[in-house]
C-alpha cells in the first residue's frame, strides 16, 4: 500500500532521534487522536543546520517526519515555514494513501511548531 520511497524512509529513517543541541522544538498530536510527532531544529544565522524527529505513528508518519527533516535542512527558517504537504508528498515519490495525507500535514505542523519555538526563544 506504500510506495518504495515511503518504505525506504520508514525502514531507515536517517533523521530519527533526539537532537540534544536543538534550539527549537515542536511537538504536535496526542495519543488520543493517533500520531505524536516531535521535531528538533538547530538554527544558525537563520538557517536550519540540523533537523531531527521522534515519532509515534504509522509507516507514513515516520516516513513523512523523516522527509520533512531532510527537506528543510539547509533552508532558511522563512523558507521552511512555506513547506506544503505537496512538497512532502513529492519528496516521498509523489504518492501517499489518501488516509495518510494527514501524516504529512502533521510533520509540517511539528516543524512549524519548532520554528515558532525557536523564534520565541530568539526574539
Amino acid at each position: 500500500m506504500y510506495s518504495k520511497k515511503v518504505m525506504e524512509h520508514f525502514r531507515n529513517p536517517k533523521n530519527a532521534g533526539e537532537l540534544k543541541k536543538a534550539n527549537g522544538i515542536g511537538e504536535v498530536g496526542n495519543t488520543a487522536c493517533g500520531d505524536v510527532m516531535k521535531v528538533y531544529i538547530k538554527v544558525e544565522k537563520g538557517i536550519i543546520k540540523e533537523a531531527k524527529f521522534l515519532t509515534f505513528g504509522c509507516c507514513a508518519a515516520i516516513a513523512a517526519s523523516d522527509a520533512v527533516c531532510a527537506i528543510v535542512k539547509g533552508k532558511t527558517v522563512d523558507d521552511a515555514m512555506k513547506l506544503t504537504k505537496q512538497d512532502v508528498i513529492d519528496y516521498l515519490g509523489g504518492e501517499l494513501p489518501q488516509l495518510k495525507i494527514h501524516c504529512s500535514i502533521l510533520g509540517i505542523d511539528a516543524l512549524k511548531a519548532a520554528i515558532k519555538d525557536y523564534k520565541e526563544k530568539h526574539a
Partner: protein, 389 residues
Amino acid sequence: MKKIYLDNGATTMVDPAVVKEMLPFFSDVYGNPSSIHQKGQEAKRYLTEAREDVAKKLNAGYDEIIFTSGGTESDNLAIKGVAYANRDKGNHIITTKIEHPAVLNTCKALEKEGFEIKYLGVDNEGFVILDDLRKAITPKTLLVSIIHGNNEIGTIQPLEKIGNICREHGVMFHTDAVQSFTKVPINAKKVPVDLISMSSHKIHGPKGVGALYVRKGTKMASIQHGGAHEFKLRAGTENVPGIMGFAKAVKLSSDSDAKRIAKLRDRLISGIEKEIHDVKLNGPRGEKRLCNNVNIAFANVEGEALGSYLDVSGICTSTGSACSSHSLEPSHVLLAIGLDKGLANGTLRMTLSRFTTEEEIDYTIGSLKKYVEKLRKISPLKRVLKDVL
C-alpha cells in the same frame, strides 16, 4: 524467504487435503443437487454427507445446518431472519460492543428499520456481564446475539450461562462462532443456543462458504429470495465444491490440535512478556482464551509501524488499531475493554494455526524484541505502562 503467517484470524491456508477433496466437484461431480437426474442426485448425496459432517461437529441434526457464503452471510441471516420473522413479538435486540462488523452493522441496519438495539459493554477482559444481560432483556426482546470467541482479543464467552438466561426469558440466542468453531467444542444438544454462525476459511477450508446452525423449530425468515434450497432459508444453487472443502476442513480439525496450538500461544505470550518490558496482554489467559489468539499492546509503539517492520522480515500479523485497515479509529473492541487509545493504537494481533511451529514462534519473539526497541528509540512517548492502565 518463507513467510511466517500469524494472521490466521483473518484467514487460513487451505489444507492440501481440503484442496484434494474439492477437485472432483468442479469437473466430475458437477451436477446441480436440485436436479432429479443421476448427475444431480449424485451431487445431492455428497451435499447431504457434508451437511452431516458439519452437523456432527456441533452434535446437531443435519437438517439444522444451512450452508451460506460465509460468516458474514450467516450473521446477516441469523439476525435479520429472526428479526423479520418475529416482528409481531417485539423489536428489541441485544448484542455487545465487541461484535464483528458483520453483526454490528447488521444491527445498525435494523436500527434504521425501527428495531431497537442494546449494545452491552464488557469487562476489562472482554466478558459480557451476565447481570447486565439479564437487566437488558425487556418484554420486547426477540434476540440476543453475542460473539462466542472474539476475533480480536480471543475472549470466549460462557455460551451455556448466556443461553440459560435467554431461555429463562424466552428470548432467542445467536452466537457468532466464526473464530471458535472447531477450536472450542459446542454441543448444540446441551447448550441452549438457537443459531450459530460458522465460516470455512478460518479453519483451513476455502473462502466464500460457511454455515448457520438453526435449531429445529426456530421461527426464521429467509433474507434472500429464490428457489427452495437449504430448507427454504437460503436460496441459490449450493456451492458444492466449497461445501465439500468446508466439511473436509471440519473433519480434519481436532481437539488435540487445539491443545497444541494453545501451548504455542502461551509460549508466544510468555516469551514476549519475558523479553519486552511494558507490554499488556489484551483479553483473558488460559482456557477462556481462543487457543490461537495473542493480542498485545506495546507501550509507546504504534501497531502499524511494528506490523510493517515484521512484514518486512516476513512475519504477517495484524494491528489492533484499525488504522492500517482503512480507518483511523482505534479498534472498537480494545476501546470497549477500556484500553487507553494510545495503547490501543500500539496493539498487535498474532493468530496461530495448526501449521505454526515452535521455531516460528521463537523467531517472532526475537523480531518483536528488535523492532519494539527500534521504534521505542524513535518514539517521543516515554510512558510507563502502569501509568496508562
